[in-house]
């Protein structure tokens, strides 16, 4: 019996100086193998991060291998990227050239829908793979589902979301979270997730309406500028080159401001979503919580960008470390675990890594 109230259930005891030799040798070997080593590099990184992460009284252990990741990647290439590339390049182009726009449109639509379906499957299977390779007290997690049902759900919710102009996004995000975690288990215990969209909808509206406000502001400024300019004499206008430079600077400024402001507002929403999602997660008698505020997320992203930019890209090798420590720092668990009842998972152990996810380049959790 373990109580985790009072002191934090998740702690991280690693040190970036201890991690640096792993990161730099990973970089070296990935370069000289033209990227093939990346699968083993990722595995070594996770082995370190997991082994320095304590949950209550013991460390986590990562048991995945580089070979699994490579096989997963190869399979994803074989069943997805190559056929899709072929259809896209050859079938679509030849259909267009022969004037079968209708056929081309149908094939294009099919590709688009299949892409959503496979993205859903990929997200599900990556989570399943990671749980199945994570040991705590010698016990692993997993899922008995292959993720096909989740793929369909992801497909139709995405389509529905686009038909409702994106207003359903908080609902699709939380229900999909509940669906995929509801299929996951650790040991004999099934995860339960009951995240709701209502608590995060206001923040989503802020994100949703911000570009509209922005557009109105830009138009108002432009109109104001024109009126003000019209009052002055045309002769006093600076030469063409200067005007162009000023216009360019203003445009670039707006562009930057737009993405920075929108990015920050997106984090305002995302931080609330992640708190709601993790907070709604249960495993047996364990409850979880995530405490990162919008400010924490901004610091994480700003720090990552600064790290990469200031080191001319080399700092990228520490981004995974920073993300993991951020995640563990803000992760909490409350409740009890009965170790005697926590027996080995009976779920099927997937043979390959998160290949599809790599192909789509998206995160797992």
């Amino acid at each position: 019996m373990h109580e985790s109230q009072g002191n934090k259930a998740f702690t991280f005891s690693g040190d970036w100086r201890e991690f640096a030799p792993i990161a730099f040798t990973n970089l070296l070997l990935s370069i000289v193998t033209l990227g093939v080593y990346l699968f083993w590099a990722r595995t070594r990184e996770r082995r370190y991060l997991w082994s320095r992460t304590h949950f209550i009284d013991d460390r986590l252990e990562w048991t995945g291998t580089g070979r699994e990741l490579m096989i997963g990647y190869g399979l994803a290439m074989l069943i997805f990227v190559i056929p899709f590339g072929f259809i896209n390049l050859v079938v679509l182009n030849s259909a267009m050239m022969r004037g079968h726009e209708g056929v081309a449109g149908l094939v294009g639509l099919g590709l688009y829908l299949a892409f959503f379906f496979l993205t859903g499957v990929a997200i599900f299977r990556a989570l399943r793979y990671r749980l199945s390779r994570t040991l705590w007290h010698g016990i692993r997690g997993g899922s008995d589902s292959f993720g096909l049902a989740f793929g369909w759900s992801y497909l139709w919710k995405s389509v529905l979301g686009s038909f409702t102009l994106g207003l359903l996004v908080p609902w699709t995000m939380t229900t999909l979270w509940n669906e995929r975690w509801g299929e996951m288990s650790f040991g004999p215990y099934r995860f339960e997730a009951s995240a709701r969209a209502a608590p995060i909808f206001l923040r989503f509206l802020l994100f949703y309406l911000a570009p509209v406000f922005f557009l109105i502001a830009v138009i108002a400024l432009a109109v104001f500028g024109m009126v003000a300019g019209g009052m002055g004499s045309w002769r006093s206008l600076p030469s063409d080159g200067v005007t162009a430079a000023v216009m360019f600077a203003i445009l670039a400024g707006f562009y930057l401001l737009f993405f920075v402001v929108l990015g920050v507002i997106a984090l305002v929403f995302y931080s609330a979503y992640f708190r709601e999602a993790v907070g709604a997660l249960r495993l047996g008698d364990l409850e979880f919580a995530f405490t990162a505020t919008t400010g924490d997320w901004i610091r994480l992203f700003a720090g990552n960008i600064a790290l990469v930019v200031c080191t001319l890209g080399i700092g990228q090798i520490f981004v995974g470390y920073r993300n993991w420590t951020f995640f563990i720092r803000h992760m909490h668990a409350y409740g009890e675990i009965d170790l005697a009842r926590l027996t080995q998972s009976t779920t099927r152990r997937p043979g390959q890594g998160e290949g599809l996810l790599d192909a789509f380049d998206i995160g797992a959790i």
Partner: protein, 352 residues
């Protein structure tokens, strides 16, 4: 000795005694005995805080840990942990990195050489058919004003005597450029003929294109473009496009330099001064053309002109003697008017 142990079936942490017997051992905890297990079936995990941790082959979650590190008498019996991967551990990090770097260099070099090797394997007849196909696009723009083709043939014969496979034509388009198609077809655009101040300048340009023909650069670059676009098609559009352009232009710079070398040799053997060609390049790069900047950029975009290029031709002139013009005044006149005096050649300009 005492170890900690997870049996992989439940999460309970046990602290049994490890009792070794030859190459096997059992785990004893009061009246509970697990095993026997073979030492050789253990799999080393990462050591954490000085504790040596081992798993068991084929058993998920089975672990034993030696809290104070591995005892010396067991060390020889137990497998070593993997650091970088089994293969790299066996060779050592630095030798493995050096080996991989060598292999990677060879792989990249082979990959980059593939188009050249494939181009060499394509039969001349196939290449000629490809060139004919491409040349058909210019078909009705080919110019044949009075005595023009003869003047052009005389010019080509001076530079490259005895080569019957090369076919040079002038096309009625106001572009200052010349292109080589597969199969030894060289197409001069009328804009270039008009922009040239003397026949020797045209000779220099044709000699350069002849270099491309001789080295089969065109087929090679077509194959390279094809291969790169297929290979890089998988990358994100911009990255693929930039990489493609960078690789292709790096190669075209090499090919350009080689074609210049060929041109310099050919001009020397034909006793044609390379100085007009150098002047032509300088004029182009300085933008001194009555036709405006737009026309000039055509040649510059496919034949990047640097000071070095003109300098190479100027330097080559020092070894020349007995140079004489490649065409006489009448022939040059015929060549200049090859399009304007040909009523059958379709009018200059573009059709959209």
């Amino acid at each position: 000795m005492r170890v900690w142990h997870y049996d992989g079936l439940s999460a309970l942490r046990r602290e049994p005694e490890l009792v070794a017997d030859g190459d096997a051992f059992v785990l004893v905890e009061r009246d509970r005995v697990e095993g026997p297990y073979r030492f050789a079936d253990l799999v080393a995990g990462d050591a954490v805080d000085g504790a040596a941790i081992y798993g068991l082959k084929g058993s998920t979650g089975w672990r034993i840990g030696f809290p104070g590190g591995l005892p010396a008498d067991l060390a020889a019996l137990l497998p070593a942990p993997t650091h970088y991967g089994r293969l790299i551990d066996r060779i050592g990090l630095w030798p493995a990195a050096a080996l991989c770097a060598t292999l990677a260099t060879i792989a990249v070099a082979l990959f980059l050489m593939t188009p050249a090797l494939v181009a060499r394997a394509v039969p001349q007849s196939v290449e000629r058919k490809l060139g004919d196909m491409m040349a058909r696009d210019f078909g009705d723009r080919n110019c044949a004003g009075p005595n023009g083709p003869q003047a052009l043939a005389a010019l080509v014969a001076r530079i490259d005597p005895g080569d019957r496979d090369v076919r040079v034509s002038v096309v009625n388009l106001p572009i200052v450029n010349a292109v080589t198609l597969p199969g030894g077809r060289i197409v001069l655009f009328d804009g270039l003929v008009k922009a040239a101040a003397s026949p020797d300048e045209v000779a220099g340009v044709i000699a350069h294109e002849l270099g491309h023909v001789r080295h089969r650069d065109v087929l090679e670059s077509l194959l390279r473009q094809l291969g790169l676009s297929v290979l890089l098609g998988g990358l994100d559009g911009h990255v693929g496009g930039y990489t493609n352009a960078l690789l292709a232009s790096a190669y075209s710079r090499d090919a350009e330099a080689r074609a210049d070398g060929f041109a310099i040799d050919a001009l020397a053997q034909a006793h044609i001064s390379p100085l007009p060609t150098a002047r032509f390049f300088k004029r182009l790069s300085a933008g001194e053309d009555s036709g405006g900047v737009g026309r000039l950029t055509a040649y510059l975009s496919t034949h990047p002109i640097s000071q070095d290029r003109a300098a190479r031709f100027i330097a080559a002139a020092k070894l020349h003697h007995n140079d004489r013009p490649v065409l006489d005044a009448d022939q040059w006149g015929a060549l200049r008017d090859i399009c304007t005096s040909d009523p059958k050649a379709r009018a200059p300009g573009f059709r959209f």
